[in-house]
């Protein structure tokens, strides 16, 4: 039989701090959920590469910018599933140092998904990658664009 010590008062160790951080993250997620209606779901743990994104919209389209420095455009995968846009890829790293290596950069796989609040015209979506910034333009579907309704007097 294995006797496991019962920890009544867990010490402040890393796991507790991480729990608190994840709670804070859940809180933040909840804030975003209430404001944007589950618009944005960052995936992954705190240690993964979570590229920063900006989303803009006007009457005609959404524009999404993602900061993805140091990739080749073949390494970026963009997919649209209904109203959910997913940006993913992998940044590989070759360490050539034989004496030392310090980094605060992230490497490895990344993925971010966003659900857009209105339908987009998937055939007219286009993406460009310049200076490490990915720009995706998603034109709104015709029926989703705001329409002016004329008022007539009877």
């Amino acid at each position: 039989m294995n006797i496991v010590r019962y920890k009544r008062y867990p010490q402040s160790d890393l796991s507790v701090t991480l729990d608190q951080l994840t709670n804070m993250r859940d809180e933040l997620d909840r804030v975003f959920e209430s404001s944007f209606g589950a618009f944005f779901r960052p995936l992954g743990s705190l240690n993964r590469w979570n590229p920063a994104v900006d989303v803009y919209q006007d009457k005609e389209q959404f524009t999404v910018y993602a900061e993805l420095p140091g990739l080749k455009k073949e390494e970026i995968e963009i997919s649209l599933n209904g109203d959910t846009l997913t940006i993913g890829g992998e940044r590989k790293h070759e360490a050539k140092a034989d004496q030392g290596f310090r980094t605060d950069r992230y490497f490895g796989k990344f993925q971010r998904s966003l659900t857009l609040p209105v339908s987009v015209n998937s055939e007219k979506v286009n993406a460009t990658y310049k200076d490490g910034i990915l720009k995706i333009v998603l034109p709104k579907a015709e029926e989703a664009k705001p329409k002016q309704i004329p008022v007539s007097l009877n």
Binding site: F36, F39, F40, P42, N50, P51, A52, V53, D54, V55, Y56, Q57, D58, K59, Q61, F62, T63, Y65, E67, L68, P69, G70, L71, K72, A95, K96, A97, D98, Q99, G100, F101, R102, T103, D104, R105, Y106, Y129, K130, D131, G132, I133, K135
Partner: protein
């Protein structure tokens, strides 16, 4: 989300003065070192060759990256990107030959090669 440090300049804003403290973001970077020298990669998305300033002064290397600002159409719905210029300062190992420092930038990543001076390479001394 990337965690970036902010570096503010020291001067406060006084009433009636035009001076504004410029804020910068520290770019994420890595430093590799080999026997021949060092290689620094600094991430500065939105910066191209024209927006880049690299200076060496008195044993200090300063990297300044000015972001290319694009006019966005419409209103922001969700913003995470810090729209500030980049700045990072390194103190150089005196073994580096500053006249041979090379820089190039590709897709927002600046690669700096800092070779060590010839005289610092281990050398066999012949005994006469």
């Amino acid at each position: 989300m990337n965690i970036a440090n902010q570096q503010k300049s020291d001067s406060p804003v006084l009433a009636g003065q035009d001076q504004q403290p410029v804020q910068y973001v520290t770019p994420l970077a890595d430093v590799e070192s080999t026997q021949e020298g060092y290689t620094i990669h600094a991430e500065m998305p939105g910066v191209d060759k024209s927006g880049l300033e690299v200076t060496v002064d008195n044993g200090e290397l300063t990297i300044l990256g000015h972001r290319h600002v694009e006019e966005f159409s419409g209103e922001p719905v969700y913003r995470e990107i810090r729209h500030t210029d980049f700045r990072r300062v390194y103190e150089l190992d005196p073994a580096i030959d500053t006249s041979r420092i090379a820089a190039r930038i590709d897709q927002g990543v600046l690669t700096l090669t800092l070779p060590k001076g010839e005289s610092v390479q281990p050398r066999k001394i012949t005994v006469e």
